[in-house]
Symmetry: C2
Subunit: 698 residues, 2 copies
């Protein structure tokens, strides 16, 4: 017996050790517990039970919940956990039993759950199967963080109805602004072949509460509406349905013309409306719970109702009528025009605010967090709170188009919290203003083995989902719970790494666009600094448009003396940014154009402070390197080395950003560097000559 | 003790079972042995030893060999295998010891090895470290196939000096004719970050003897020659050097003009020659064992010496001079011109044959297996054997551009053997004619988790490498050894699956291009049938150019009455194909244009036989499905299901090929189908209207 076991062990061990940590398992590693937490979990044999009577028998969502519990508890406890159906549990008095009660009407609908201690172990209660799945993931999260089974009790409900990922994936497999390989959607092999990857994707999303996925780029190909793509989408919808995920499509507004054989896409043309109605019927015949359409219209060259002199509301309502109560039209507010001389930061407000109340009930307006475009820092978008009779949704960008791609470490929860917690001045915070709709995040997910291109970028996917579930969660809690699940639940590690994460986005803002500067990235791919670009045909594509720097000063005057973008905000909000002497300096140059020798209340000049911020950014990366190096050996070697490599890249590129930016500002203001400041390593000409035609994601 | 073991086992087991077979480990799975083979291997404890004295201490290649042996033997035996250095082994009289003797001058250089039984166990002998590595992989292969350690003894030497993969990977991550995801080379993160994937890639290549890799597309971007790419390539070269792999670059002939600041790329211009010399020096400073340049010149729009009125030899020799004895110029013979009215199958011969003897010693001419372009079947290229004073290399295509992409099962070893074994008529077989150079294969490797897009396409990578090592290996042996390592060494499985593999390429040829037809694929992406395309601007891009079918007959007359391409072959070879009545019918319509009612010696008409071949192809896929289904449960479920999904796709697409082709031929010849033959499922118009703009690899 002993010998047989030894042989078995010898066979099993190499397999176990060979399972290198490559990041694929995300935060769902269920790393074996140790010490008191393990002792607590293994006091009695564990079982998962689906009681009869209450639950719908053989419901795929409940099955997914039970499977996940069985897999997670087995891995956490190191013991096989059994699954019992019906009354079997009555006969197992020695077992601690996790019971799934998924039809308890006292729990709210829409995914809410309650976890309660019971005489037999622990009960997960919900009114619907999806609540049981969310509760199961919540329980596994608590255990993964190191909580004891006997201490866990919680009741949760999602704050928003829509918690969505927007994939900017093209049918050819490329991903716009993707830095994690190519698209995870293998359209070419669908619907015949569905990879396991697609199931693990759904598990990961469900574990953080995401319930909707737009599978294709907002710069949409009409091809995605053709029958063969609907058949492919149906396969995904069927696979994801047990995980509570509805599929959506980005719809190209000109599709009736592109693929429908009509010569127009005018929303007032009855043939156009009929085409969309037929298309919707065709989709719903295949996918009864199809979520709806996401539309980028009359923006950056995309077609839209404006092509026919119609308003955004005209276009959106026509599509909404085609969907009817079956689905939702999500209409993006991201519009700006080279023919509009107004400050780009004001254009979407000017175009959409007057339309408040004109959208159909099943239309949602999707508004980016800030009025420009996903910069390292922007003030919240003035449309939040300003359209009380419209359902408004927050669009965030999880993929780091403007924050260093996948090789710079930047934890974005603090950025999103900054927006969510902002009081709009219309009586609500942003988080409150979007309550009837929810949040969308532009996905950072690709074919890279670690899903997100870097291990730390997984944290942004995680934090996005968790905030869409509960925007009151603190960035610190999110960092801590993610780090504990993803790396190590050892307290010293979690404390250091979460602190590092919390400061990381500010560090990036400092070395790229300090003091409220914005959009100084190189043209097109947005890789690296190019504040000197001033000659692109569309004025608002030039960094110069945003920084407005010259010999005298720097910054965009959005006060009444300038573009007056401040007027788009409620007075109480605008007041926060009106006075350069009394405002949060991190927004300073977003709203004000100031002389280089303007002084802060503490007496330092704008120029001195600007240089200090750049230096603080570079030093911050060095500090992150140090923190990370200090934890070598505490986690698996491969992932540690991956992150160390990336921090090295970030360190070098932070220096590049700092040096190139300072060299350029000096070429304008001819000011000496503050005492003790290192001059840029190379000449401005060197930085200007750098060219990266192959930068990814473009 | 027992209890502690039980706990340990409980912890280890879930990890072991969780390691799903996803294809990543290729043929290097080292699946645990069972039965007598296991008993034989575990009779004594195993150790790997690097003796002192003989071997270079701490040589990275020997370390890689020892690591692989340790890992492989541990996995095969289920026991930890120890590694001993120096004389430790003398003290372990109870161990069976695998010894690596890597400086034995009696063994040939260049990778040869000998495996011999010894009093202590088994010795691997070589004159160089790389021979020890090849010997280690050979030993592990034999064990993986189920051979007993005590039965293994072999001496091998590679037949060819060059055994190369050509990657058609672009720096933006796309892969021309790639059906396995995007490029595995993450240039964007190199040189700072090297993924483990790159090491496993080198291991896989070394295990089958591949010793050179061209990392970028022959349709080359000059950017790859810029300093930042040389730095990136250096990191790959450093990582692959221990595995005996030299790196090569596809070089764009116009690079001196594109990135060098010159206004010409004329090979006779001394500034151009100096630019290439400097570029070579720059590369060799970073990569002392850089392999050289692969060049596609004056072909399909690529620049070349012809742009300046110079010959291919002029261009190649200029580059060869720049490299000097350090490296090799591999010059592709794949040229054809829309301005040349000669049969496309004759153009490369006409252009290159007269240049025999004019190429510098370090130039190799790389010739595709057939005179057109990697069709399911082509006669061997007439240049083989016809240039006795030129080193000629065989170029094969591992990626299945013309054989159904990654979803059709087609084992290509029989196709390559057909070429290798062909007598050229110049006194040598093709295999003999290429002896001074070797073989290149256009890689089918991408970012898909299983490397090749499908599990069975791994077999083509495997077989290519093994044939480049030893072209005398039979396709059957290759299928058997691959199947045993990759799936299961159970004899019933190996016999059935290898038989299925051996017939698979003929099946594809039958349903796509039977009886020597060629190039009937749709335009551009080559996905699906389009024999009806006749109106593309370049005549030789039209399927009609190749099939020449009309009301009366079908086929390309390459006899003296037609294009006389037969004249490019040595008389003895040409004689094999000269008489339609006495030739291998699988080449029939490649060489002959025949009336539809032409009859085979057995009395069946050409039209009847053609339809029969299509039906045989479709039936063959159904048969493969049946064989595969019969082995469900004998291997892991996930990979079995993956293959079953793909066979289903292949079945449907084979039917599509057959139906569309027959419908088109009928539209020309108005002939009824032979009795009992099923008519095409849809009208010709249906098939002609199908469009797949998103087909991959284009």
């Amino acid at each position: 017996m002993l010998q047989a076991l030894l042989v078995l062990l010898a066979v099993a061990l190499p397999a176990a050790t060979a399972r290198a940590e490559d990041g694929y398992r995300l935060w769902l590693r269920y790393a074996p517990l140790e010490g008191p937490a393990l002792a607590d979990l293994t006091r009695r044999p564990l079982a998962v039970q689906i009681p009869v009577g209450g639950a719908i028998p053989d419901n795929p969502t409940i099955r997914a919940a039970a499977d996940e519990l069985q897999k997670g508890l087995s891995s956490l406890s190191g013991r096989q956990v059994s699954l019992m159906k019906g009354h079997d549990a009555e006969t197992r008095a020695d077992h601690a039993i996790i019971r799934l009660h998924c039809a308890r009407s006292e729990i709210a609908a829409g995914g809410a759950f309650s976890i309660r201690q019971s005489s037999r172990g622990l009960d997960i209660l919900a009114s619907e199967p999806i609540g049981c799945l969310y509760g199961s993931f919540s329980l596994l999260r608590a255990l993964s963080e190191g909580m004891r089974l006997s201490d866990i009790g919680r009741s949760e409900a999602p704050r928003y109805p829509l918690r969505m990922l927007n994939h900017w994936d093209n049918p050819d497999g490329s991903v716009e602004r993707g830095y994690a390989g190519s698209s995870i959607f293998d359209w070419w092999k669908l619907p015949d072949h569905l990879d396991q990857w697609m199931i693990d994707y759904a598990r990961a999303n469900a574990s953080i509460g995401i319930n909707g996925v737009v599978v294709n780029n907002v710069n949409a190909s009409a091809m995605m509406l053709e029958p063969r793509y609907i058949a492919r989408l149906k396969r995904l919808a069927d696979a994801w349905r047990p995980y509570g995920i509805r599929v959506y499509l980005s719809a190209r507004f000109s599709a009736p013309r592109d693929i429908g054989g009509l010569e127009t896409a005018d929303p007032f043309d009855p043939r156009v409306a009929a085409w969309w109605k037929d298309k919707a019927d065709e989709i719903y015949a295949a996918i009864p719970d199809f979520g709806g359409f996401l539309v980028k219209a009359n923006s950056e060259g995309q077609p839209g109702p404006g092509d026919y002199g119609r308003t955004h509301a005209d276009g959106a309502n026509m599509l909404a009528h085609a969907l009817g109560p079956r689905g939702t039209v999500i209409w993006r507010a991201f519009v700006y025009s080279e023919h509009d001389e107004a400050d780009r930061a004001r254009q979407a407000f000017a175009e959409f605010a007057p339309l408040d109340g004109q959208f159909a009930d099943n239309v949602i307006l999707q508004v980016k967090n800030g009025p420009i475009d996903f910069q390292p820092r922007e003030p919240f978008h003035p449309l939040f709170g300003a359209m009380p009779d419209t359902r408004v949704m927050l669009e965030t960008q999880i993929t780091k188009e403007y924050l260093g791609f996948s090789t710079h470490l930047a934890f974005l929860a603090p950025m999103w919290k900054e927006v969510l917690d902002a009081p709009t001045g219309h009586g609500k915070t942003v988080a409150e203003a979007i309550a009837p709709a929810g949040m969308a995040g532009v996905a950072n997910i690709g074919s890279d083995r670690n899903w997100s291109g870097s291990h730390f970028d997984q944290a942004n996917w995680y934090a996005f989902g968790r905030l869409a579930w509960d925007p009151s969660l603190s960035a610190e809690q999110l960092a801590r719970e993610w780090a504990a699940q993803t790396w190590s639940r050892e307290e010293g590690f979690v404390a250091d790494i979460s602190a590092m994460m919390l400061g990381s986005r500010e560090i990036v803002a400092d070395y790229m666009t300090p003091l409220g500067l914005a959009h100084l990235m190189a043209t097109g791919h947005h890789y690296g600094p190019a504040p000197w670009v001033c000659d692109l045909p569309r004025p608002e594509w030039n960094p110069c448009y945003y920084h407005r720097a010259d010999r005298q000063g720097i910054g965009f005057d959005r006060t009444p003396g300038g573009s007056n973008a401040l007027a788009d905000y409620a007075p109480i909000a605008a007041a926060r940014w009106a006075d350069p002497d009394r405002m949060d300096s991190r927004y300073l140059l977003w709203f004000h154009h100031l002389p280089w020798d303007w002084t802060f209340p503490d007496g330092t000049s704008l120029w001195q402070t600007l240089v200090q911020r750049y230096d603080a950014g570079v030093a911050g990366v060095a500090q992150m390197q140090q923190v990370w190096a200090g934890h070598e050996g505490e986690i698996d070697a491969r992932r540690h080395a991956d992150v160390a490599d990336f921090l090295k890249i970030q360190r070098r590129e932070a220096q590049w950003w700092r040096d190139a930016s300072i060299a350029y500002w000096q070429s304008l203001n001819s000011l000496p560097l503050p005492d003790g400041t290192r001059p840029p390593a190379r000449s401005l000409g060197h930085y200007r000559a750098l060219s990266f035609p192959e930068a990814p994601g473009n």
